[in-house]
């Protein structure tokens, strides 16, 4: 029992953690396969990251250092709220530095700073089923995954190219994991997809409302779907960050007036601030 809250360490009871831990081990053993789990009601609403929170709560220990980001930033309100939740129910140290974190819970981004072995990236996932826009019936998509029958998705991408000259998906861009399962990378921008490929960190995915857990082990092949004559191309704004000057990072567009004025800044606040600090130190 945590002295400050009256709740168990990490909020979840031990039975629930055990159930989630078993699901996580199977998820790691079958990369990209969605494992159903008995998702619990959490004190935060569905859609606010209940799946990621349950995964983090089942994994985290007193020795961990937790970073939480939303849209790449540590200071967005939901990231703040989740970080406070874990500081309260697990008493763990938190950090905003990617390099210092042992667990990073994220919504919609993969940090720019390359991850390393020993780190765990926990994704909050709204819709774990990559095929849901093409086939909403779960019983049907389950069958498609069993048969590795992903023709529907290939046809959709092909039609996009025929109509627009490009695949019209810009985020939540489907990936094939370990050459077997089609997987939703969660709604990260397609720009981030290549970071999933053979990443040294362990990537865990939790979908609370849809009650699914899945995983990508370290150094596992993660390919964004494409065609030989239309290779996958990650898109970012063609600009540099107005704060740190980066031309590699993913940028947020900030509207500065109502006359078309805009600037671009890094979405990853830790990456941007570290660069600014280094530049100041060099001056």
């Amino acid at each position: 029992m945590s002295a400050t809250t009256g709740y168990n360490f990490g909020y979840l009871d031990e039975d629930t953690k055990r159930m989630i831990r078993r699901a996580l081990l199977k998820a790691v053993a079958i990369p990209g396969h969605q494992v159903p789990f008995g998702s619990r009601e959490m004190p935060l609403p569905y859609g606010w990251g209940t799946g990621g929170i349950q995964v983090t709560a089942s994994v985290i220990g007193p020795a961990d250092r937790l970073k939480v980001i939303d849209q790449g930033a540590d200071d967005t309100t939901n990231a703040v709220s989740i970080r406070r939740f874990f500081a309260r129910v697990a008493g763990v140290e938190t950090t905003e530095r990617t390099a210092e974190a042992s667990i990073i819970q994220t919504r919609h981004r993969i940090p720019e700073t390359p991850l390393r072995e020993g780190q765990i990236l926990v994704y909050q996932v709204p819709m774990p089923e990559p095929l849901f826009r093409l086939e909403p019936r779960v019983a049907e998509t389950k069958r498609m995954h069993a048969l590795a029958d992903y023709g529907l998705m290939h046809v959709k991408l092909y039609e996009d190219i025929a109509r627009h000259g490009h695949v019209a998906i810009s985020y939540n861009y489907p990936v094939m994991v370990n050459g077997r399962y089609l997987m939703s990378p969660s709604p990260i921008p397609a720009f981030d997809n290549p970071k999933m490929h053979r990443n040294p960190a362990l990537q865990l995915f939790g979908a609370g409302r849809e009650k699914r857990i899945y995983a990508v082990p370290p150094y596992t092949e993660v390919r964004s779907l494409d065609f030989e004559d239309h290779p996958f191309e990650p898109v970012r704004a063609r600009a540099g960050c107005a704060l740190c000057g980066s031309r590699e990072s993913y940028l947020d567009e900030v509207v500065t007036d109502d006359a078309g004025g805009r600037i671009f800044v890094c979405s990853d606040t830790d990456y941007c601030q570290s660069r600014q600090a280094r530049q100041e130190a060099a001056e």
Binding site: D13, E41, P136, R212
Partner: protein
Amino acid sequence: MAYVAVKGGERAIEAAHAWLAEARRGEPAVPELGVDQVEEQLGLAVDRVMAEGACYDRGLAALAIKQARGDLIEAAFLLRAYRTTLPRFVAGAPLDTGAMRIRRRISATYKDLPGGQVLGPTFDYTHRLLDFALAAEGEAPPPPPEAPAEAERMPRVTGILAQEGLMQPEARGEAPAEAEPPDLTREPLAFPAARPLRLQSLARGDEGFLLALGYSTQRGYGNAHPFVGEIRMGEVAVEITPPELGFPIEIGEVTLTECQMVNQFAGSKTEPPQFTRGYGLTFGHAERKAMAMALVDRALRARELGEEATAPAESEEFVLYHCDNVEATGFVEHLKLPHYVDFQSELEKIRQLRATALREAAE
């Protein structure tokens, strides 16, 4: 550049919480609402929150309603989030609604029947005229109702039909009777879902959603010919058998509303024409919900009865995945969380697609 990298999320959250508390309290000159007042005087709201919150505790439901400022879905969510932390001691014995201490019991299929019709506390024949005497707060306590017919056992209408062999008996299912039923709160839904699981899901389901679906079956989206065999509301004893005792003991009672809809069934290759049942059961007095649930339950049985299943209310996945209002409100409302990273990628994509389209148009 104050608009960049909005620092101070933490302060903003704290300020919002303080403002929320102030808004909840309202005008301080007006006396604060007591939880007991909610429990006693907004009883149907309490009932709905207990049903959708899947937790029978009038006091906690009343507290949730007060804390949620009267937002009943938010209150059900509060109750669910509390419920999920409670330890499980033992599974209760099946409730015997046949032994209900009845406050209301009506049948639309018989003019009179053993036990009689008991109107009970119903809006049914009120004239919906605003009662300005209530606004004056000078309400005189009404005379006590007639003592209910305590001793008389009230047989269920479906039982009366069954005597004649006209009512399809309830299937026990493949599991032995003593097997524990599936538990929606521990295991995720899997399809095809057995009826116990469907009924669990509907019992927690959103009243409005079930109402609309039930209504749709009456308007031709589904093959419904329903009659209200019976609606009964009253108190039922809850029993458990503690392992160390080995015999059942009563631990309290709950108020329930049960609705048995009787539907015509033309028969199949294996079964003669008969009536089939649609079943609704809810915590508290929640007649609209129980009736809607009974309609939807019957609609969801279409496939097992060999009927064509094409209407929305007959689609198991459609109904069960979408009837939970705590899940639904979470996913709908999460759209207000920041999505600017995804939106940015959409912006770039739309610009790219437009550029391609304009270039092609120019060629």
